[in-house]
């Protein structure tokens, strides 16, 4: 297993007061999931309610990465808040569809699209369809 050969890069910006835009670069797998989780937990701790995860530079994501996304989804759901996935690569989108995570966590094509979705439904928890 490749370890530390593809270090994860996580960059956090704040387009809105309670919105954290998190751009991830690198493989989201068992080796990097913990680091990714720390970043998310840190933003939660600072009161961000909406998480925009830009995965356009994530070529691969395994169940560990997906579980981090699900975990933050479960956390912000109670606030209420939301999690959005932006521009996933085909492989990652495939995993999201495969696991059904895309059913619960909306996938946007751009940051603007994700932001507009945040603005559209800020009040309450999003009720999953299906």
């Amino acid at each position: 297993m490749p370890i530390a050969q593809n270090p994860l890069s996580v960059e956090v910006t704040l387009p809105r007061e309670e919105v954290a835009l998190i751009k991830v670069e690198g493989y989201l797998d068992v080796d990097t999931a913990t680091e990714f989780q720390h970043h998310l937990a840190n933003q939660l701790h600072h009161g961000r309610r909406h998480f925009l995860l830009d995965l356009s530079a994530v070529p691969f994501m395994d169940s560990s990465g997906m579980n981090i996304i699900l975990r933050v989804y479960q956390e912000v759901r109670e606030l209420p808040g939301s999690v959005h996935i932006i521009s996933p690569t085909p492989a990652v989108l495939r995993v999201l569809d495969l696991t059904g995570v895309s059913i619960t966590v909306p996938v946007s094509g751009s940051i603007e699209e994700a932001l507009s979705r945040v603005d559209a439904e800020p009040e309450g928890p999003r009720v999953p369809e299906a």
């Binding site: 699900l70 495969l98 995570v101 059913i103 299906a130």
Partner: protein
């Protein structure tokens, strides 16, 4: 041998001549012997005559000076006065000389007179001398001694001195042989004159190397000389030992003005009783007599007869100035009587630093004992200088204690001492122990490598020397007083007091090298881990003089070691724990899903399952499969994968697998089953998520109704084709509290193979799972004959690049 006689008088007949003639008067040998003896006698007579003339000449010289007359008049006066005094001119000459000289010889002569008178009274017949000798000796022993002196002074070699001494002064004392040794500067002895010993014996003993214990050697070092009753009792070798094994011996240092030039050794044929003081003083006088001759003795050299270079004080001062150690040039200081009283410090070189810190000018020119009165005390410095001056034997010592008295305060210093004689001067070199400085310079280099601070602690003076690094190590300014070793514990962590105590005990009590590691608490609050190594230094008396050593800051090393040790322990513990957990997980897996499961017996249907654990034991985790016949004939087929690895994942897997089996009995469809299973997963502790695919095969209709929860859909292998079933909607288990699952139904035909698997089989980072699956399925083509073969091959050719465990369930219709 004959005794000296007055000029013109016939020599006496001695016994040797009589015996020689009487023994074999007519034999050629006897004649030859007689001739030799006669010739010898003539030579001796001439010598005696010369000696006598020398005395008379000396007396004449005195009269010339006293009476202010010419030599002829003096000679006439001497003759007349002798005639008037009823003594021979020779005896009168001796009287004149004695009165004029008033020297030691005069007193000794008086004593000698008394002694010889006593001897002669006690045993007049044993007088070894012949008649002629008796004539002179009985009448005037003073003449004999003076004659010996005169002969010694006139003799141009020490051999003549020895002859004169034996014949004129020693035979009356019963001695039979005499040896005169010259002391070399190196402590060797050279036999420069002897009488009474066989020539071969004397030749054998011509040179005695330094440090060979002989009688003469003893005499050289003992100021009072050696008075040996019987040579055999001492066991000491010496010249003539075999001739006179039990005889008495006397060996006296022959010196003048405090300087010993050699040794006078006298041999008796019989044991020597303790001698009266008069005799002792007489012999001492003779030794002094020898010294005058020895003073001018030049040891023979290999290369010609170049004169021995005797550096005077000036030369020595230049030499001293060229030395890198403090050096003093000392010259003997004689008292009024000509005895060595002290040494004057003629010169001190540029490197000279007074141990007491006085300026050079104060020390230079002073007398040694005045400048260093304590030198006469314990240190024995003066005694050593005196001895070197006397014997010429250099003295070297390490760790000598020098004490200087400054304003009545004794100041001690320990020094390495070198004393050597050069000509008439003594060079005293001392190196005040600056071991610490040298140590420091050495350690300065070492310090760069190991952060080492050096120290030296003088236990007598309490003086402590630290190098700069040690001050730095202790975090103390360079100007602050160093910390004594005894107080080390006060600067260390209290818990280290025991270790430090042990260290000090080894070092100071057992006086052995010791080391200890302790936590140094610096004034700035920083704690450093320090290792101290020290060794005791003993002085010549085996007393603990000082302690020197080094401290090394091992903090970095220490913490590295501590960290490594902890990590090692942790690793060992973790490894053991992990191994146990992995083993447990695997056992759990095997208990639930035996690798070789009893085949499920369903009409017209092959069912096979495979489970392959991860290669790395720790990754054994949460994959599961199930294939059971449900009531009503349907077959439950399921593959699942709990996220994560290890014991937690395996436990969750067990829960989900059993839950599904239980739920399936209700007869509900796969979508409903997964919906319920999601609730189970969601309420499992730790918010575990899992994926699963669940199918219900109806053998009668050959249909598979299935649903999936975030899992890869089943693959249908039909002929050469292999296609995954469509991706129906279904959220993975446990992510949300409640969710629904889409169902789908597949119609199977005879020969169809349906595969369910976990992603361990195909997961790759570099390509989509579909692609990986297609690649795998094409590799395993044409479809093997049996389902088991098919599954085995799939596992074999699986090119997953993640070391994950893998489950595989397959059914084949037909």
């Amino acid at each position: 041998m004959s005794t000296p006689e007055q000029s013109g008088e016939p020599g006496g007949v001695d016994r040797r001549e009589a015996s020689a003639v009487g023994m074999t008067p007519l034999s050629p040998v006897g004649r030859l012997a007689a001739t030799v003896d006669r010739l010898s006698r003539e030579v001796r007579a001439a010598q005696a005559e010369a000696e006598g003339r020398a005395l008379i000449e000396l007396a004449k010289g005195i009269l010339v000076a006293r009476l202010g007359c010419g030599p002829a008049e003096a000679a006439r006066q001497l003759a007349e006065l002798a005639e008037q005094s009823q003594v021979t001119p020779l005896e009168f000459a001796v009287d004149v000389i004695n009165q004029a000289a008033r020297d030691r010889m005069s007193e000794v002569t008086d004593a000698f007179l008394a002694a010889t008178a006593a001897v002669r009274t006690a045993a007049p017949d044993e007088d070894p001398d012949g008649e002629g000798a008796r004539e002179v000796a009985a009448g005037s022993p003073a003449v004999r001694l003076r004659a010996a002196e005169s002969g010694a002074l006139a003799a141009d070699d020490t051999q003549a001195v020895a002859d004169a001494l034996l014949e004129q002064a020693l035979r009356p004392l019963g001695a039979v042989a005499v040896a005169v040794w010259a002391a070399g500067y190196d402590g060797s002895l050279t036999l420069v004159g002897s009488a009474g010993f066989p020539p071969a014996e004397a030749d054998r003993w011509r040179y005695v190397p330094p440090d060979v214990a002989t009688v003469a050697r003893r005499g050289l070092t003992e100021r009072a000389g050696q008075w040996i009753t019987s040579l055999a009792e001492t066991g000491l070798p010496s010249v003539g030992r075999h001739q006179y094994p039990d005889g008495g011996r006397v060996a006296l240092p022959a010196g003048t003005g405090g300087r010993v030039h050699g040794v006078l050794e006298i041999a008796w044929p019989v044991p020597l009783a303790p001698q009266p003081p008069q005799v002792v003083r007489q012999v001492e006088a003779l030794a002094e007599l020898c010294a005058h001759t020895l003073e001018s003795y030049t040891p023979p050299r290999d290369t010609g007869q170049e004169p021995r270079v005797v550096p005077d004080a000036v030369e020595l001062m230049e030499l001293a100035d060229g030395l890198h150690d403090p050096a003093l040039v000392l010259v003997p200081h004689l008292d009024a009587a000509g005895h060595l009283a002290d040494f004057r410090i003629q010169h001190v070189n540029k490197r000279f630093m007074d141990p007491a810190g006085r300026p050079r000018a104060v020390v230079g020119g002073a007398l040694l004992l005045e400048a260093y009165p304590m030198a006469a005390g314990d240190s024995e410095l003066f005694r050593n200088v005196e001895r070197v001056y006397a014997t010429g034997e250099p003295f070297r010592a390490r760790h000598m204690n020098l004490t200087a008295l400054v304003d009545q305060v004794p100041l001690s210093a320990v020094a390495d001492i070198s004393i050597s004689r050069h000509g008439n001067a003594v060079l005293l070199i001392w190196r005040i122990e600056d071991e610490a400085a040298r140590l420091a310079s050495l350690l300065q280099h070492a310090q760069r490598l190991g952060r080492i601070g050096g120290f030296e602690e003088n236990l007598l003076t309490g003086e402590i020397t630290w190098n700069e690094q040690l001050f730095d190590l202790y975090g103390r300014p360079h100007t602050s007083p160093p910390v004594p070793l005894e107080e080390l514990a006060a600067h260390a962590h209290p818990d280290d007091a025991v270790a430090i105590g042990r260290f000090l005990r080894t070092l100071l009590h057992h006086r052995r090298p010791a080391s200890a590691a302790f936590r140094l608490r610096r004034p700035d609050g920083v704690t450093r881990h320090v290792r101290v190594v020290a060794e005791p230094v003993l002085d010549t008396d085996d007393r603990l003089l000082l302690v020197r050593g080094a401290c090394q800051d091992i903090s970095a090393q220490h913490w590295t070691e501590v960290a490594l040790a902890a990590t090692r322990d942790q690793l060992a513990h973790t490894e053991q724990q992990a191994a146990e957990r992995a083993r447990l997980t695997l056992q759990l897996q095997h208990a639930i899903m035996p690798p070789a499961q009893t085949p499920l017996r369903v009409p017209d249907l092959q069912v096979a399952v495979r489970y392959r654990p991860a290669e790395t034991e720790q990754l054994v985790g949460g994959d599961w499969y199930d294939a059971v016949m449900l009531p009503g004939g349907r077959v439950l087929l399921c593959v699942g994968d709990v996220a994560g690895h290890g014991i937690e994942a395996a436990t969750s897997m067990v829960v989900l697998r059993n839950a599904l089996r239980g739920l399936a009995v209700t007869g509900a469809g796969p979508g409903q089953l997964l919906s319920w299973l999601n609730i189970v997963a969601h309420h499992l502790t730790g918010g575990v998520t899992a994926t699963a695919v669940c199918g219900l095969y109806d053998p009668a209709r050959r249909t598979l109704r299935w649903a999936r929860a975030g899992h890869l859909p089943p693959v249908l292998v039909r002929g050469p084709e292999a296609e995954p079933l469509p991706l129906v909607r279904g959220m993975l288990l446990g992510a949300v509290a409640e969710t629904g699952y889409e169902e789908a139904e597949a119609q199977l035909a005879a020969g169809d193979t349906l595969l369910m698997y976990t992603d361990g089989l195909i997961e790759r980072r570099d390509r989509p799972v579909e692609e990986a699956l297609a690649q795998l399925l094409s590799t395993v083509r044409p479809t093997p004959n049996t389902l088991d073969q098919h599954l085995d091959r799939l596992l074999t050719y699986s090119r997953s690049d993640t070391d994950d465990d893998t489950c595989l369930v397959g059914i084949r219709v037909g």
